[in-house]
Amino acid sequence: MAVKDLPGQTTGTQPSRLVEMAWDPITRIVGSLGIYTKIDFQKKVVAECHATSSIFRGYSIFMKGKDPRDAHFITSRICGICGDNHCVCSVYAQNMAFGVRPPAMGEWIMNLGEAAEYMFDHNIFQENLVGVDYCENMVRETNPSVWEKAKKAEAPNAKIHGYKTIADIMTSLNPFTGDFYRQALVISRYTREMFCLMEGRHVHPSTLYAGGVGTVATQQLFTDYYTRLMRYIEYMKVCVPLHDDLFDFWYQALPGYEHNGERRILLGCWGAYQDPDHCDFTYKNMTHWGRKMFVTPGVVVDGKLVTNDLVQINLGIRILLGHSYYDDWEGEETFVPKDPLGNPVDRRHPWNMHTKPTPKKRDFANQYSWVMSPRWYDGKDHLALDTGGGAIARLWSTALSGLVDMNGYVKATGTSVQINLPKSVLSGPVSFEWKVPKWSNTLERNRARTYFQAYCAAAALHFLDKAFEELNAGRTRSWEPFTVPDEAIGCGFTEAVRGVLSHHVVIRDGKIANYHPWPPTPWNGNPRDKFGTPGPYEDAVQNTPIFEENGPDSFKGIDIMRAVRSFDPCLPCGVHMYLGDGKTIETVHSPLAPFG
């Protein structure tokens, strides 16, 4: 952390001392992110913040002219922790462009692979990266009084997870020496084995293709997955109550902590897990099969569902330039003036965008980011949706739509999501219910992450039932042949682990003419746009009160880091952010992801 005193400034009648502090790179995330802040220690609040990520790779540039069938092999390499989500999303987009519908078995295998990815990724991020911010060592160094409270606080679910006090939970999260920390690492490995059973390799799958998968469906394949899944379910029965105890404690120990990382409820979810009984990958039926996805797509504003129609979601996406190192594409060709249903497609839609990089010095007043500003246009406003790190938006959207019912394993009620886990070696059946929370804040983003792990475990049980149904009926084909048309367009929508993911492709002369992936981190970490709308991190960090007990001289910045990490920043997708001073926030965030 770099510290520099700034000249005293006056805010209102109260003099305040702003201290400039920076963390670059911040640790325990994927990729490189720098956080630059000004902190008002009198008022105990973050006055100003810039976040900057500094890598440009150029995917949308070097994919031009390549064979469209190579797209998922290439785009998987965008991300080293959720590369398979890109791979899957690209396969979805190719399926649409090539007009191919994979056999049901192919979809169940892909769903099982993706379920394993969520189970692995959320787990390692929660316990081995985020968890350290809540571990004994960190809490003692930043909030000794909270540590004292934790030692006296009995854990309500101690009988289930075995940790008597909240302090015991915190100790179990200490890096390497904590037993829950170490257990999570082990679990992150066998969940990756589950993943590899279905998709071959983690994190860049080997067995996915347009048209389905190369994975050979056998009794052994699914049994090997099943046994590992049941071990994970056993673990979930402990993991969910443990995290409820930990996060509930935080609200009690530090009243006001609900404002850490809080922002207006503006959530996007693009849906996950296809239902092969409904999904034909045609654009004209996308509204229907999108609503049949096993995580329901949706835009949630101020706690209300705006839409769950994938066509409407697609058409609402706008890529604004923000303060990024790119030239505008005014005057360049519009590839897709109308979608296959005849709806007009905006020039700033991913199908029509162009990538024109112009490297510059980093200047927070002007251009300072390799990321543009994605927005969702509701017909009136360009909304700065966030994903909250993925899980909270998926649960919220699914809960409000009330469409999902996976044979009793998972059920959306309109206000909640019920998750039912069967008997396992050490325990009987257990039910959890995720209820729509009061806030979109740090603690609820984190809590949702654990609940969504349980959601995926239950969903995987459903997918296994369906896969066995196919297997036992002798329908083992998992791949369908296709040909690449000379001219076509396609789009894929899914959820990367940390939130919304779309891939848009335009094919001409049998080659890629335009390709634009839009992953979650650009949505979360973008800058103020031309309308003056700040990006999600800006809101979240700006509102964050400082509870850390260390003064400026030994300040660690734990509250800020908790807020940032709650979004599960994944910088290969790119993050640049700038928060202006005090009241107004000037933000430039350009996700690398569109380019790469």
Binding site: I26, V30, F176
Partner: protein, 338 residues
């Protein structure tokens, strides 16, 4: 060096996806816990400076070790680099990669800047993943960054101040255990418990990359019987559908991906040559039958020796990078936008 602590300085800030950092968390032979806690006999003390699991919150506290290493105050250290190296010379200003700021400056230190600062002092350089070793995906034809691998950047003959050539563990991403096993070997070497690490002509640990995918693939029996898949979900040999296994140096089908589970052609995924210097360009389009495939699959068996000779020829080509991965002010990838 038996009593010394070996510092491992890890910079994932090349043009990368961080997939090689993530891979190390998957390793079980040995695991990161076992290395970090010194749970294997003969290991020297190890201190990781690795952003992914670092305890500190970052910034100056985290970067301190990197600046100390530059000043020669951290000896010995292994420099681990992840991601391809953008050619920062091809543009007028700005940066393609950044990892912290230079002291007294508000501009980032680039990835190549860090390599310049640290390589002269490193006990050894370990390049993890195909991006760092040879350039990989981001060095594909038409790329705008002039990306290259460490061998292109420092030179294929480069040796550390301790006489150790650049250690390259390719793979996209790297195989978890290939990585942790190589780290373990280097630590043993640093402790004086193992001889100089044996490397092949492309810097790869020879015990890991001495065989082809095909030699370790359990579908090779189908190949021998002339049974080739015509559809991707077939359990037979995938060589006619784009699998480059016969000419790619990699142990994945034999080892599995994690805990012996998964892999590539052994589980239905064509080998796209991701461990090779010629990756990806020389293997694209990935789903077409490799040029040598027709002939060798026709003559399989009887003319084994001839096939082996021809494969060695193909392999030599694939072991060479495309010509546009190089230093200098000129970008020759085909991109003309700057």
């Amino acid at each position: 060096m038996a009593d010394t602590v070996v510092n491992v300085l890890w910079i994932p800030a090349g043009l990368s996806c961080d997939g090689d950092s993530v891979a190390l968390t998957a390793a079980m032979q040995p695991s990161i816990e076992e290395i970090a806690l010194g749970a294997l006999p003969g290991l020297p003390g190890v201190k990781f400076h690795w952003p992914l699991i670092e305890y500190s919150l970052g910034g100056a506290e985290f970067l301190e070790a990197f600046f100390k290493a530059e000043r020669g105050e951290l000896d010995p250290f292994v420099l681990v680099i992840e991601g391809s190296i953008a050619n920062e010379e091809i543009k007028k200003e700005g940066y393609f990669t950044g990892f912290g700021n230079a002291p007294g400056s508000d501009q980032p230190i680039t990835f190549s800047g860090w390599i310049d600062r640290l390589s002269p002092k490193a006990w050894a350089i370990l390049a993890v993943g195909t991006c760092a070793t040879y350039g990989g995906i981001h060095a594909m034809a038409g790329n705008p960054t002039g990306a290259m691998g460490i061998l292109d950047y420092l030179g294929w003959d480069w040796k550390s101040s301790h006489g150790i050539p650049i250690v390259c563990v390719p793979g996209c991403p790297i195989h978890p255990d290939n990585l942790s096993e190589t780290i373990l070997y280097l630590l043993w070497q640093a402790a004086g418990k193992a001889p100089m690490i044996p490397l092949d002509e492309a810097g790869r640990p020879s015990w890991l990359f001495g065989n082809t995918v095909h030699e370790g693939c359990d579908r090779a029996g189908y190949y021998e019987q002339g049974q080739f898949a015509s559809e991707y979900d077939s359990p037979k040999c995938l060589v006619k559908l784009g699998c480059w296994g016969p000419v790619v140096k990699c142990n994945v089908p034999k080892r599995g991906w994690i805990g012996g589970v998964g892999g590539c052609p052994n589980v239905g995924g064509i080998c796209i040559g991701c461990t090779m210097p010629g990756f990806p360009d020389k293997f694209m389009p990935f789903m077409d039958e490799p040029p040598g495939g027709k002939l060798s699959s026709t003559v399989s068996g009887a003319y084994g020796a001839v096939v082996k000779t021809m494969r060695n020829f193909t392999m030599a080509t694939l072991d060479k990078e495309p010509s546009w991965r190089h230093r200098g002010k000129k970008l020759t990838t085909g991109y003309t936008g700057h």
